[in-house]
Symmetry: C2
Subunit: 171 residues, 2 copies
């Protein structure tokens, strides 16, 4: 496994498995517990981030290689080139933990999100598997050593992440 | 003046002066000449960057401190905290020149964009003034040493920027 300056945890799932919703709920819960959370998403299509007509959009359209914006509240950056997962992780200095969506083949620990739709197949290698989140935990009975959570069990999932990845002493 | 690893040039103008359009045209021309251009914008309101319903939007809404996304073509980052101009400049490693919109009081060289609407007042101190872009150059006749360009003279503006800030040997 790759090593990073801060905890990095992937969420891996076939399309339609509901992993985005699980990441969303995990972020909310970790934030409520006082942790700083960064998320990195791999987009297999070509995402559109900005809004037509905005100055930043116009600068990107004009060909700017990078457009930065900051207000007194927040900031953003759009680049006309890709970044690797590792580059983005290295920029997460403001986070206690980095959650990753996509990057199926990345050498990081992963939570597999499975569903009936894909026959409960694991979307990542067992080597990298940290836990399974699913709608039917009976599918994984008898598989020793891998924690399995119901998809609605945000407490359980987050508790596991804290215990395994975070200091567990913030609340 | 502050010093940076690469050329930094501000565009300063009162609201409605047309500075965004001038920056847009300058980017296009510099890109056509083969330069890599970064733009940094200071937003005095609170910008909205992402699109409702997108995964990245959902992660930000859930409270993520930073959301990164990369496709094979481009990448973006949204942070729930501001960045200083200097921090953003330090991230412009992919650019030959950094153009800045806003940051009126920043200690950088500036091109003033003026118009009839504001009585041709200069929007920045003469100390930091590099050139003036305006719709009536006769307003600045007799002021020695400050280059003045018509707002449609993109060739002139860009030529000046190249000569003063870039290697001038790319085409």
């Amino acid at each position: 496994m790759s090593t990073f300056l801060r905890p990095v945890l992937g969420f891996s799932g076939y399309s339609g498995s509901g992993k985005t919703t699980i990441i969303e709920k995990t972020i909310k819960r970790l934030k409520n517990l006082g942790y700083r959370v960064a998320v990195i998403k791999h987009d297999v299509h070509d995402f559109e981030m900005d809004k037509e007509g905005k100055d930043t959009f116009r600068f990107s359209e004009a060909g700017a290689d990078e457009v930065f914006i900051s207000s007194g509240e927040k900031s953003a950056r759009i680049s006309s080139f890709p970044r690797t997962m590792e580059e983005m992780i290295s920029e997460c200095g403001h986070a206690d933990i980095v959650l990753i969506e996509g990057y199926k083949y990345a050498d990081i620990r992963k939570i597999a999100v499975t569903s009936e739709k894909s026959g409960y197949d694991l979307p990542c290698s067992e080597d990298s598997l940290e836990a399974v989140v699913t709608d039917d935990i009976s599918q994984y009975q008898g598989r020793a050593g891998i924690p399995v959570f119901y998809r609605n069990d945000v407490e359980g999932i987050t508790g596991f992440i804290r215990e395994r990845y975070l200091d567990n002493g913030k609340d």
